[in-house]
Structure formats: C-alpha cells, structure tokens
Amino acid sequence: SLTEKLTGLFKDLSGKGKLSEDNIREASQKVKRALLEADVNYRVVKDFIASVEERALGAEVLNSITPGQQFIKIVHQQLSATLGTRNEPLRMASQPPTVVMVCGLQGSGKTTTCAKLAKSLLQPGRRVMLAAADVYRPAAIEQLEILSKQVGCDFFKKDTTDVVDICRSAHHEAVKRLTDWLILDTAGRLHIDQPMMDELKALQSAVKPHEILLVVDGMTGQDAVNIATQFSQQLELTGVVMTKLDGDARGGAALSLRAVTGKPIKYLGLGEKLSALEPFHPARMASRILG
C-alpha cells in the first residue's frame, strides 16, 4: 500500500538526520504514482502534488521527529479536504414536490440510482414518484416501472417522445398526488452530444429541478474531467453520485469530479440491490484512492 511504501521510504531516510527537499520530492513522486494508478486525472494530480509539497516542505514535516507519519497525514488530510465535507444529503424544497433530475453518461447507473434514491426517501408519511424520461433505450421505461414496483413508490410514464412534456406532466401529476419527491430518470448521453445536452437544458428550464445529480461510474478514468466540465458548465448541478464502488476500482475520478465541479459527492452506489446506496464519506474515499 502507499502508506507502507511511504513508511518504508521515510525509515530509510530518517536515519540520516533531517529531511531534505529532495526527500520530500521523492515521497511526493510515490504519491503521484499512486494517484495516477487510482485514476485521478493527471492534471488534477499535478495540482494536488504541488499543494502537498508546499505544505510538506514546511517545518511541520522537516522538523518533525516522525516526518514519515507527518507527511502521510498531510496527504490524507489534503485529499479528504479536497473531497469535501461529509454528508450533504438531498435538500427538501420549501414547497413539494422536491424535484430531482438524474443525468449522466450511458450505462453509469442512473436508472438504478433513481430507484435507490426513491427507496431511501420513501419513509412513512412521504410520497415518492419516479418518472421515466428515457424514451430512447429499449425497455428503459419497463426497467424503471419494474424497479418502482420493487420500491413501492409511484411511477409516471407518458406515451410520447417529448421528454419535456413527460417531465412537465409528471410534475403536474406529482402535485396532484401531494408527492414529496419527484425523481426524473433521463437517458444516458455523451457530454459532447449537444442536442442531447440541450435536452437536459430544456428540462432544467421547464421543470426547474431543486437537485440535479450527475451519476458517474466509479471506474471512470481520465475522462471524468471532460464529463464533469461539460455537465457542470451546461447545467446547474447540485451534486454527484458515484456508482459501482463495490468493486476494486480505486475511485480517483471522485477527486477529478470535485476539483472540476466544486459540487459535493452526495452518494455512493455500492451494489445492484436497491438498498446499496450510502452517503459519501470523504475520509474513507481518501483512503480508498490512496490505496
């Protein structure tokens, strides 16, 4: 693990008296390598290492009797701090329904995440509605309808290819049924497919979601920066959900996403079951990324 590598490195060095700048740079190269292997974007890595070195070259590490531990602590702290404060759940609007729009690339886990969110929000006395706004993928609407039955929440679909009409009508129905949460599942799309990005913009202005969540596959590599840049520039994102982190992907995209969007990672998808949704914990994610 990185901690073992760094501890070993500092053990070799600390016997030779006070640490030098070169020692610090050698250690930060190890961190750089670990972050790249963890899929953190190479530019985000450069910025991160620069900020770590700046702190590490101060008295805090150089004058410490346990410089290795101090250095590792700085790296971990810096990473956790960048990943954001913990637990930013969905915020309820002042007037129901709170509208949550879920978007992202193809296959990232949006439909499953919508159902997981619905399940977690469906508490006694609360009414939740899932709306099927993916009119492209074969059996997408069936998929969400089956999931909403499993969750036990309301479901909305409309026989039209006009996605704005679907979401407006869903909102109308949600108001009628005194719904607390309306979750809009949208089709997967590329951030460079402008007509499809325009569809999301049209939805945003027509329905005015209180929350717009970008769903990103936890195994995403360097491309996370491109995805994050386009989605955050073109939409008023309020948060990110990272999925499929029940595998061995290190999840470095989290750092890239946070660095580019400045938005909180609100949840992690940790499995295919509808209960597999957890609030984001920055310190835990930092450990996972560092390996």
């Binding site: 790249l36 963890a38 899929d39 193809q106 993928r137 499993q150 360097q222 491309d223 029940d246």
Partner: protein, 275 residues
Amino acid sequence: IAGRRGLSAGELGQIEDLLLMSDVGAAAADRLLAALRQGPTDRPALERLRAEMLGILSLNSGPSLQNTGLPIRPQVWLVIGVNGSGKTTTCAKLARRLISQGRRVTLAAADTYRAAAIEQLKEWSRRLGAGFVGSQTGADPASVAYDAVASAASQGVDDLLIDTAGRLHTQKHLRDELGKIYHTVGKQLPGAPHLTLLVLDATTGQNAVSQAKLFSEVVRIDGIVLTKLDGTAKGGIVLAIAQELKIPVRYAGVGEGMDDLLPFDAGSFVDGLLE
C-alpha cells in the same frame, strides 16, 4: 514534436501527459517512454511511438467473424463484462453485422437478473429480425444458455449470441456463475463458446486490467469489444491489457445504434490516441 527525432525532457513530459490522459496508465507509459529514450533516433519520435504502440496491439489474429475456418454451426458467442459496459447493445450490433452477411442469427437472453434485461434484448431481436431465446427473470442463466445452444443447433442457425448479466469481476459467486454458463455451453456443444468477448467501456480507467485478469481466470477471453469510443475517452487501457494478458481488441463500439460497431483498427486507434 511531430517531426523531431531526439526528445528533450520537456517533450518527453508532453508525450507522457498525452499517454496518461488517454488512460494508458503510468506503468505502460513508463515502458513506452523507456522504449522511446533507448530506441534508435533514425525516425521521428512520434513515428517510433506509434510503431511501438502498434506492435503492442498487433497480437496474433485469433478467431474473428470471418475466419473461424471450419463451418461450425452454430458459432457460439458469449458476451461478458461489468455492469453497464454495453453488452446487450453489442450483442445487437454483432447480430446486425452477421445478418448483413446473410447469416441466420439467434440472440439468447441469459441475463435473468436485471430488471427488463430480457425485454431489452427481445426488443433488439424484433428490430433485427433475429431469433430469440429467453426465459424469465430469476431463471438459471446456465440453463437458458444450455437450452439456447440446443435450440440453435436444432434450427440450423449460423450464429448464437449469448448476452449475460453485468457482473463485477470481484464478486466470486458471479465469476462462478459465469464459469458455469461457459462450461455448460461447452457440454451442450463441444468447443463452444467459440468466441468469448469481454465488453469494456472506453471510459474505464485502470480497473479494466483487473476486470480482464479476473474474468480470464474463469473463461478464455478471445477478444475485447471497446465501447463508447464515440465519446472523448481514448480507451488507452487496452495497451496494458494487450501487454499483460495478450488479449486483442476485436471491435469498437461507436454509438447506440445497431450499425455502430466497427472491426477494431489498431492504426486509427493509435492515431486517435496521439492526436
């Protein structure tokens, strides 16, 4: 840098960035840069880099669409991969390609787990005019595959494409399930599956190597389909997979329609990476 032969440290750094941003990975990038530094400088550096990468990707031409030699019937394709990588859509695209060559194709829905998975493949078979074999959610996937091979053989179909459920390579019980599907198919038709394809999303980073490694422990992977190359991700991770596991890329997925599949062209792939 394009026409230059020798490289300065700054230029090597630029090349390293180019490789890293394409998901080539730090270790594979190191190997490529070492080859560049040590290699002869009789040609421009980028040309040497291109040649080096092509060399890595040009693995012996294993079985593919056109050249399996013997007229095996049905030729059985097993399509595997992690969740959401594009397996079901790839099955449809492969079917489309085979049908356009005048072959009779059946699609088998062995994803008996995910909501509406069977319906999704069934809809594709309707659009394609392909045969369809499926059971229902909750059925045993190995049994569905077994029955599909039997029915395809008895109907004299040319190709049987078996779509499987998305599964994380780290889940032992799901790897075991995949192994069971693989061996059960072979029991019904010795030699089958003739082509097992790992569907890999081009946006995937270093985790793709772990996927290829762990799935290789339960099935022989004949090739990779690299999907979603119509996005901005470069899919450079296939270089490491080629080097470490000798698994070739056979097809590229370039969109969501049934025609959006291309035979993999290493030259244009490398050009796309280096632009």
